[in-house]
Subunit: 120 residues, 2 copies
């Protein structure tokens, strides 16, 4: 009798796995959570604002990640007709639904850090 996959061999688990892959695919990379988190906290920020807010990111990465997020409908980009041209990035309705996800990640990170510090 050959062994087969048991646990994941249900439609529910397949969907679940796929869903996690989807999420991580959309939020892949080193900076997306930081960008989204920042935009959720502070609504409507310019490119240079984000560059200052997010410690360590460079212009290339910020530009690229923002494009990704815009394509996926999580962030909106609006060119303002101001004297020196400015751009406002904001979280979309869809992007705002990530708040609980980011909250859980942050919460877990805090708890994990404490558990590591506590046991050493």
């Amino acid at each position: 009798m050959k062994k087969k996959a048991i646990v994941n061999d249900t439609a529910v688990c397949q969907v679940r796995m796929q869903a996690i892959s989807d999420t991580m695919s959309v939020l892949s990379g080193k900076w997306k959570f930081h960008i989204l988190g920042t935009l959720i906290e502070g609504n409507k920020l310019g490119f240079m604002d984000l560059l200052r807010e997010i410690n360590g990111i460079g212009t290339k990465m910020l530009s690229k990640e923002l494009q990704d997020l815009e394509i996926n409908g999580l962030v909106s980009r609006t060119v303002m007709n101001t004297k020196p041209i400015t751009v406002k990035y904001a979280i979309t309705e869809n992007g705002a639904t990530l708040a609980p996800v980011i909250d859980e990640l942050a919460k877990w990170g805090v708890a994990y850090r404490q558990s590591v510090v506590g046991t050493e």
Copy 2:
């Protein structure tokens, strides 16, 4: 007057950012969520079980990711003294605290997929 970081320039935000980085650092890579999710669902699985459960993963990655997870205290590895030597991998108490995080990720992935399908 020079502009400064406003939104993230609070202790709370710095901690939050750090926490997200911590979490993503521990859970980095393509397979950790899948491994953890599988171990949360089906308690105590052997190496070959996991290899079968997780579609697409290879021995090298599985081995490496399991080591990472064990080092970080999220997964336990127990060598059983059975006739052909077997190893049981299980989620730890600490690792089990990831369940809500994984749930949120999965939940969001499902909703996101529906939002994309719904609007096209």
